[in-house]
């Protein structure tokens, strides 16, 4: 026993001696420094072991201009030809700049690498853009139009075979070719006009990828660090499930100049843990995904501020036209009339989300309140009247199964599904059976269109345009709505009209005319009850005091994160 005590005592003394005293600051690369920090190619860890930062008692990142962002997202792919998740796009848009991008904090397109907005041919099939001069990747490799065009062609050639296989859908249906006219001019040729093509140019799929890291013939979902780009940052190292480290691109010559020396994205498993971490100072910013109960808790916490962003993510019921009783339009209309969205918003979310009366959220072109105009729900009398037309009454109620994934969209999904059950049963003519189902099984069955009469889904746009909130639920099976068949055949004349209107709107280049078309589409959509929009989520970002966004852009209180949820790390600064 005495021997063990001695051993432990010696160890403690040795450890104490070794860890005593402060340590030196790191010399992180800052914007404007033309020397790229020395990290070994393929080494996912920093090799600067000799100099270490002082963290004694300081809040996370304070000592050396580092801001730590906590998130429950994970990296799924860093290849622009493959990446499709919100976090992947966020990283890619910070390490790369595309021809066009969004102005931080708002839904306004602006130039990125391009010197001006695209020149569009009269027939709407050719888009020409000129790149600014002197664009380089963070390792000094020059980006010419030839390189850019070659990299963009990956989307058309290998994109469909990449692991996620979805990003290419933003190009392959209509993009015929991408060519370099000269060393600074790129030309896109489309097979048909696409009204929202400029928005597509601002997506991550159209970002330049480093030719050495991302070869033309192969998808590279997890390239070895450092990951170079043309944007204000580059990734110096990343470890799945732990953190991603970004430092300023020394060769960046654009407008979004970094304000700090380093950004660290800290991956956390659980929103509760993230909430505690931002309170503790382990992280400087909590970002995605905080539930309403955690937001309420953080709003009262000292040293924190909570920014609310009306962020484009919606929740809706998906109703299958091919399965009883949802093949009956009166049942669909009855459900639409009986739902009380305000009750869901108040009871389940404490007002932290917004009710949604059209699949197109507020702020998007042509948005209306179509479901409210048509059904003015909750209107139980109207619901009963619809059902009576189909012969349903208290003695012969509608038997309706509603399925939902209890874990995928957060714990509150079960709560508002139970509330919907009560609301529908309040008609006295609908018997609801709720069926929770684990996500993997659920999404396979739901999108296959064969299993569930009704279910829940969430949606976030690929690009901020009304078409992206409507077309996926109509064309080719409609992700399980079956308002058209998987082969694209409309189920009735109204559905055929809807398809025609959507096709017309997608090629209409006049903004006002487009808006008018989308208004008409939403009315028809509500009449068919293709899907039933329920709520519009509000994202929250929680920075600690001392971390702020930029006053140059809109919404500094939300760190300049706008409705498109684009988070540009360059706006961040420490006070």
């Amino acid at each position: 026993m005495k021997r063990w005590i001695s051993v432990v005592a010696v160890l403690v003394l040795v450890l104490a001696a070794c860890t005593g005293g402060t340590t030196e600051d790191t010399t992180a690369t800052t914007a404007g420094d033309t020397t790229v920090p020395e990290t070994t190619e393929g080494d996912t860890t920093s090799t600067t072991a000799a100099e270490t930062p002082d963290t004694t008692g300081a809040p996370a990142g304070e000592a050396d201009g580092t801001i730590i962002i906590g998130t429950t997202d994970t990296i799924a792919s860093l290849d622009p030809a493959d990446a499709y998740a919100i976090h992947d796009w966020e990283l890619l848009k910070n390490i790369n700049e595309g021809l066009l991008r969004w102005t931080p904090g708002e839904l306004e397109l602006t130039t990125g690498l391009a010197t001006d907005m695209p020149e569009v041919s009269e027939d709407g099939l050719v888009y020409t853009l000129t790149m600014r001069e002197g664009v380089q990747f963070s390792d000094g490799t020059e980006l010419t139009a030839e390189v850019y065009a070659e990299q963009l062609n990956r989307l058309l050639t290998i994109g469909p075979d990449c692991p996620n296989g979805v990003a290419n859908a933003l190009a392959t249906p209509f993009l015929e070719s991408v060519e370099a006219v000269d060393s600074s001019t790129i030309q896109f040729t489309l097979s048909r006009p696409v009204a929202y093509f400029p928005q597509l140019l601002a997506t991550a799929a159209y970002l330049p990828a480093h030719p050495d890291t991302f070869p033309a013939e192969e998808c590279v979902t997890f390239p070895e660090a450092p990951v170079h780009g043309t944007g204000p940052w580059y990734i110096t190292e990343y470890t799945q499930g732990e953190q991603t480290v970004l430092e300023p691109n020394p060769n960046y010559n654009g407008e979004l100049t970094p304000q700090v020396d380093r950004i660290i994205i800290r991956y956390l498993s659980d929103p509760q843990t993230m909430a505690l971490a931002v309170q503790n100072g382990d992280i400087d910013i909590a970002w995605r995904i905080l539930g309403p109960e955690l937001v309420g808790e953080l709003e009262g916490a000292e040293g924190l501020s909570v920014g609310a962003i009306d962020g484009g993510s919606i929740r809706y019921l998906i109703l299958n036209y091919a399965i009883e009783p949802m093949d009956d339009i009166n049942v669909r209309k009855a459900v639409a009339a009986a739902i009380d969205r305000d009750e869901i918003v108040d009871v389940v979310y404490g007002g932290q989300v917004e009710p949604l009366y059209s699949m197109v959220p507020p702020g998007f072109i042509g948005e209306t309140q179509a479901f409210d105009d048509m059904y003015q729900s909750p209107d139980l009398d109207a619901a009963r009247a619809f059902l009576a037309e189909s012969g349903y009454d208290e003695n012969n109620p509608v038997e309706l199964e509603l399925w939902y994934p209890p874990e995928h969209y957060g714990a509150s999904t079960a709560d508002w599904m139970q509330l919907i059950e009560q609301q529908l049963e309040a008609t006295g003519v609908i018997d609801v059976t709720l069926q929770p189902q684990e996500w993997s099984t659920y999404v396979t069955a739901l999108t296959g269109g064969e299993a569930y009469a009704g279910g829940v889904l969430g949606w976030f746009f690929d690009f901020p345009d009304s078409s992206n909130y409507l077309e996926p639920f109509v064309f080719n099976g409609g992700l399980g709505t079956m308002v058209t068949s998987p082969e694209g055949e409309p189920i009735n004349d109204q559905a055929a009209q809807l398809v025609d209107l959507l096709n017309e709107a997608s090629v209409e280049l006049d903004e006002d005319a487009r808006a008018g078309l989308y208004e008409e589409i939403q009315e028809l959509y509500a009449d068919l009850v293709v899907t039933l929009p329920i709520l519009f989520e509000v994202e929250h970002v929680v920075p600690r005091d001392g971390v702020s966004g930029s006053d140059q852009f809109a919404s500094p209180e939300t760190l300049n994160i706008g409705p498109n949820l684009e988070f540009y790390y360059s706006v961040l600064s420490e006070n």
Binding site: T19, S46, T52, T221, Q272, L276, D282, E438, L457
Partner: protein
């Protein structure tokens, strides 16, 4: 060389040397026993791996659709299934799977970017080792000390209190205990970090060899990283260790009480040996053998990951990984991980039995 390979070498080489020594110096019966157990390992792993193969394919859900979510078109899903060989006849898939087991080819995951599974396990398994081993040691220490004290003070207040503790601690959900620890020690008192394995900034200075961070810190002489990784270990290790300690405490108590009733203990007391030495020096030595057995099995099970602890503390270990991969129907990842763990559990179980026979000369095979 991947961190996983390094760890297996660090553990495997001494284990092999030890096994060779035991084989040479041990009895014929022990040699036969070891060979039989190793021989049985092969069919055991084969049967388990096959079971996992078929169960995963029977489960509803699809790895491709699970990965793509609702956004992938039916054509995209069909194309990717073909790419991944998921449309091949089941017998063909099974044949390929058997070849992979024999050649220890773990392949690539079907979801999550199709990374090599070895790379993913190289990141996760060391994190699990880093958590589980000290947690088990902590649980063992609490259990042995507490159980011995309870046995020595049998039917007195301390005994009752410790027995109550052992039941209560085992009943407490680990995630609740973890959250309370984070709230009290992390947020309110500011004594410990909330989550993760190391301070994010210090983490950028650490060169990872084994991916066991405190070990890598020692290897590279990075003392701030050592301190940071150890301080990040405190809460999760204490949380998991406390939950496990209840079982060890009760088992130790029962075994010590039983041993204290043996004749040789009475003889020792009659010779005037102090009670502390009777209990600690004589009774505990014999009582602890079943506890060691339990420890081995507990560690083997925990190496598959302590999911809830990992989730609460954002500890990127095997537990979370396995749950995520099962949820996304990642057949290859689940098959590979479970096959590997089947082998590990079998080997650890064999090691425990060998140690048992070495510690207790009455045990003969």
């Amino acid at each position: 060389m991947s961190p996983l390979a390094i760890i297996f070498l660090i553990i495997g080489i001494p284990a092999l040397i030890g096994l060779a020594y035991i084989f040479v110096r041990g009895s014929a019966g022990l040699r036969r026993y070891i060979l039989t157990r190793i021989g049985l390992l092969i069919p055991m792993v084969f049967i388990l791996a096959s079971l996992v193969f078929f169960v995963m394919r029977v489960l509803p859900g699809d790895p491709v659709r699970s990965s793509l979510g609702p956004k992938g078109s039916a054509e995209t899903v069909a194309r990717m299934r073909e790419q991944l060989g998921l449309d091949d006849p089941l017998i063909v898939q099974y044949g390929n799977f058997l070849v992979d087991i024999v050649t220890l080819d773990f392949g690539n995951s079907l979801t999550g970017g199709r990374r090599p599974i070895v790379d993913e396990m190289s990141e996760r398994f060391p994190a699990t080792l880093e958590l589980v081993i000290p947690a088990a040691a902590f649980a063992l220490a609490i259990g042995i000390i507490g159980g011995t004290l309870a046995a020595a003070r049998r039917k007195r207040p301390l005994d009752y209190a410790l027995r109550l503790y052992s039941v209560a601690i085992y009943s407490i959900p680990v995630f609740w205990l973890g959250l309370m620890g984070q709230l009290v020690f992390g947020v309110r008192l500011g004594w410990t970090p909330i989550a993760g394995r190391i301070d994010p900034v210090i983490g950028t200075t650490l060169e990872r060899t084994t991916n066991i961070l405190w070990l890598d810190a020692i290897i590279s002489g990075n003392w701030p990283a050592l301190w940071s990784s150890l301080s990040h270990l405190v809460l999760p290790v204490v949380t998991l260790g406390l939950i496990l300690s209840g079982v060890f405490l009760r088992l130790t108590r029962v075994n010590v009480i039983e041993t204290l009733q043996m004749d040789y203990i009475g003889a020792a007391r009659a010779r005037g040996i102090r009670e502390r030495i009777v209990i600690g020096g004589h009774a505990l030595k014999n009582a602890i053998i079943p506890v060691i057995t339990l420890l081995g099995l507990q560690v083997a099970i925990l190496l598959a990951g302590a999911v809830l602890t990992e989730t609460v503390f954002s500890w990127p270990g095997m537990g979370q990984y396995l749950v995520q991969r099962i949820s996304s129907r990642d057949y290859t990842a689940v098959q590979s991980v479970i096959t590997m763990f089947a082998m590990l559990v079998a080997l650890i179980s064999l090691a425990v039995d060998i140690i048992y026979s070495l510690v207790d000369p009455r045990v003969r095979y």
